[in-house]
């Protein structure tokens, strides 16, 4: 991570499960309010005091009793009882904003890896043609599909529909969707991401663009005033720079190379998300900003953001926030 020549290397003991211990210590797991019910696979879920129930996700009925099939938190909505898992793959829902990587081309569609349960397809008919022309896609378009998106490229898209068998169809029929270049990609467990009204965030004051994909892939990039225009141009065929992504090296890529300041902000933002992920904390703009600001205020160096010291500070901050929320 550091530039060549920096010799200071830290060597320390490996403590397995240090992060978890940290959470436990600071957030007082055992003192947590126990009005929620945790279940483990095979546990019986009590249905007492309820006349009849509806079996939801993560449950099965054995000998007339409701039994959990996943580990998680029991949720009850009227008669429906289901178990919410805390760690599982992304389950697509219509309208979700997602970030994915083009895996390969299959006939008239791109197969996109969303880190989801099943593959997602982006049909050729679901992308804008150059110049926004409205017409049927012909065989020539099919041959030129690689000029839109190539294998290995990152794209942002929206879930158009989820088929009955679970497979996903995407579309990029909006200027905000499309190819992603010159930024960093982060992987977050999808359960840590909350579905929100807005998944595209431009933080103009900092010069950062943030896309929080519902599928757990998060894109952080320096804000380019011309991005929307560039996205259109890229879709307009003849996309030049391919392959190299998600790295500072991408700073060398065409139009105006972001300043060092901007890159630092991007890295700090990315590290803030990494910290949250490591601590199993929800990832949404407010939490990212809080972590980011804590790092700026504490004058924590970029490389030190993953250090135990800062992790502890973040957890401490969270604990404080919660206790004040409780008092209110």
């Amino acid at each position: 991570m550091a530039a060549a020549g920096a010799v200071a290397v830290k060597v320390r003991a490996l403590v397995p499960g240090a992060d978890v211990a940290l959470i436990e210590r600071v957030l007082n797991v055992h003192d947590a309010p126990s009005n929620t019910t945790f279940v483990c696979v095979g546990d019986e879920i009590s249905t007492e005091g309820q006349e009849g129930f509806l079996r939801g996700h993560g449950t099965q009925v054995v000998d007339g009793k409701l039994v959990a099939t996943v580990c998680g938190v029991v949720e009850r909505v009227n008669k429906l009882i289901y178990v919410k898992t805390l760690n599982s793959r992304y389950n697509a829902e219509q309208g979700d904003v997602v970030v994915g990587r083009v895996a390969d081309l299959a006939g008239k569609a791109w197969r996109v890896d969303l880190k989801s349960r099943q593959e997602a397809k982006l049909l050729l008919s679901a992308v804008h043609l150059p110049g926004g022309i409205q017409r049927r896609r012909n065989a020539e378009d099919e041959l030129n599909m690689r000029s839109f998106f190539r294998e290995g490229e990152l794209i942002s898209a929206e879930v158009q529909s989820v088929h009955a068998d679970g497979s996903v169809a995407l579309h990029t029929r909006s200027a905000k969707y499309g190819k992603l270049v010159c930024g960093q990609l982060l992987e977050v467990p999808p359960n840590l991401i909350k579905r929100q009204k807005q998944h595209f965030h431009t933080l103009e004051a900092l010069g950062v663009e943030l896309i929080i994909g519902c599928n757990g892939l998060v894109w952080v990039a320096p804000l380019r005033p011309d991005r929307l225009a560039a996205a259109n141009a890229a879709a307009g065929g003849g996309a030049g720079s391919a392959g190299a992504d998600e790295d500072e090296a991408a700073a060398a890529a065409p139009p105006p190379p972001p300043s060092r300041m901007q890159l630092e902000v991007v890295c700090r933002m990315a590290n803030a998300i990494r910290v949250l992920t490591r601590l199993y904390m929800p990832v949404y703009p407010a939490s990212i900003m809080a972590t980011y600001e804590a790092a700026v205020e504490g004058e924590v160096a970029l490389a030190d953001m993953m250090e135990p010291g800062f992790l502890e500070a973040v957890v401490g901050q969270e604990a404080q926030r919660r206790s004040s929320a409780m008092q209110e």
């Binding site: 390969d104 081309l105 690689r146 190539r150 294998e151």
Partner: protein
């Protein structure tokens, strides 16, 4: 002895790439490596193949051959010291002879450092066995780009630099003779395949 086959179509199961692929295979004849048992021979062959692949990959313009594969198979007839260097030279010549577009010829050669600190270009087997340290270098002389470097033994800074320069010089000489050889081959009438 090196043969080059290709370009041919890539196997579908390997998936799509927009650049070509280079498969290298090296075999030692049983008398070239008589003292080795099967497993040692296998290790030697695979490491030689890896080195060969590395040396050539940068020189062949693979992006001009999308979806295709080249097979380079080499047989070491007699191990007489500096096998890796000779392999690289031979394979590079074979690729050029097969009409594969390349950035440059890739000569390769070795340098040995004796216990007394002397540097020997292209060491003989006895010299190589008695060496204190050695290196193998493959380079594209026209571009001055090193494609393969493998150093063994302990080197002081200045020695390493001197050794590299010596090897670079050796590669320059090799390239000249390789070029002549290719030109001579062009001049000769070809047998129809």
């Amino acid at each position: 002895m090196v043969g080059v086959f290709g370009p041919r179509q890539s196997e579908v199961k390997l998936g799509f790439t927009d650049t070509g692929r280079l498969n290298c295979e090296v075999r030692f004849t049983s008398f070239a490596a008589a003292r080795l048992n099967k497993t040692e021979l296998g290790a030697l062959e695979s490491s030689a193949a890896a080195a060969l692949q590395q040396a050539l990959e940068a020189a062949v313009q693979l992006d001009k051959f999308p979806k295709s594969v080249f097979d380079v198979s080499a047989v070491v007839l007699e191990g007489g010291g500096g096998d890796t260097g000779a392999l690289v030279c031979g394979a590079s010549l074979a690729l050029a002879d097969a009409g594969v577009e390349g950035l440059d010829l890739v000569p390769g050669c070795g340098v040995s450092k004796t216990a007394a600190g002397e540097l020997l270009l292209d060491p003989s087997p006895e010299e190589a066995a008695a060496e204190e340290a050695g290196l193998v270098l493959a380079v594209m002389p026209q571009l001055n780009e090193v494609t393969l470097l493998s150093v063994r033994g302990r080197w002081a800074d200045s020695e390493l630099q001197a050794g590299l320069e010596l090897a670079l010089g050796g590669c320059g000489q090799l390239r000249a003779s390789m070029r002549e050889c290719l030109l001579a081959a062009l001049a000769e009438p070809r047998m129809p395949a």
